[in-house]
Symmetry: C2
Subunit: 210 residues, 2 copies
């Protein structure tokens, strides 16, 4: 298995940072235990960018947020339903709210993921619909950086329910207008997939994220 990650035996899989951060380690371990000879190279980009990389064959397939996606262009396996929550430091004045509204948090420092992520345009649009502007102090796609800002009570963020560890000194709060998220695997229609890619698709069809 030494240094095969760039060989032809490798599956090129996309996964957005936040999905990759909580789901990928378990998925990867289970897949490798079952198929030790197949290597996976992970590409971490936002869901919107990822569809382009699937379109232009940079990636064999991608785990992405399916909401609002033109799914007629892709083959798809649904994996998991979750929710985008507001995440803030346990000592923040918003920590006691449940649910929290965008008007509650409009002046509070916010980290937003970058353009190309699912959340960036969706959250901006939600604020705009209510004639509000988010107080974005930083755009970052590094989940670890986002969590560090929250942990230090420098800013809050919107994160997937499962992406929070208990040790993060932070709380996740449902939004008064919930943001449900569907996660799935997509690949381009009418292409010839390698046997390794087909093995991965079969694995995902049976995979259950706890």
């Amino acid at each position: 298995m030494h240094e095969k990650a760039h060989s032809k035996q490798t599956i090129k899989l996309g996964a957005p940072p936040m999905i990759g951060a909580f789901m990928f380690p378990h998925l990867f371990k289970q897949f490798k235990d079952a198929h030790p000879s197949i290597d996976i190279e992970i590409f971490e980009h936002g869901s919107s960018q990822m569809t382009q990389f699937v379109d232009d064959y940079t990636l064999d397939m991608a785990i992405i947020i399916l909401n609002d996606l033109p799914l007629s262009q892709y083959n798809m396996v649904h994996i998991y339903d979750t929710e985008l929550l507001y995440c803030t430091n346990a000592a923040s004045p918003f920590a006691g709210l449940d649910p929290v509204s965008l008007s509650d948090i409009q002046y509070s420092p916010l980290i937003l993921m970058k353009e190309g992520s699912y959340q960036n345009p969706v959250i901006k649009a939600r604020f705009a619909e209510q004639q509000l502007a988010p107080n974005v102090i930083l755009y970052s796609n590094q989940v670890h950086t986002i969590k560090n800002f929250i942990k230090n009570d420098f800013a809050s963020a919107f994160i997937l329910k499962e992406a929070l560890d208990e040790q993060d000194h932070s709380v996740t709060i449902p939004l008064s207008e919930p943001m449900p998220i569907q996660i799935g695997l997509i690949w381009k229609k009418k292409i010839h997939l390698s046997s390794h890619a087909l093995t991965f698709i079969k694995f995902i069809q049976k995979y259950e994220f706890k």
Copy 2:
């Protein structure tokens, strides 16, 4: 400060994922407290890629690993010296070693950062010098993903000394042949910097990372 991150008042600052993850939250908070009207947009790429973005004016400046950099091409402020360590789960058989050698860990599953990072070519070269091959199971630039693999004892990685939290169920071990790391801020020579960029440089000159 609403939504100014893409305006002309914004400093475009590069920081590699691992540096960004541990140093940037503190640096950012201190800078914003002192200069609330100046926004920073962070760009997270590997140190090698970052120099290209400084060269082609995509970034105003970048915090990067200075080792092996052709420094004659850049203005530079040295910030901090640290070290690249081997990081593994506390339950791993290597957890008790101190120091650890590359031959000790050659068969152990490893996550390496991607091409474009400082560590990727340097660590590969170190293994090659000893006629060894690392058992790379995944290339990832997401610090959170790397830590999750270590936390779950799926793989080990090379990480900067300060990037580890105490709660990560993992240990960092010095290498038998140490890998010292110098971190600094660089910007292109002979360019006109904005007053905001100059303010940031003055701030960095006085900044002390704890």
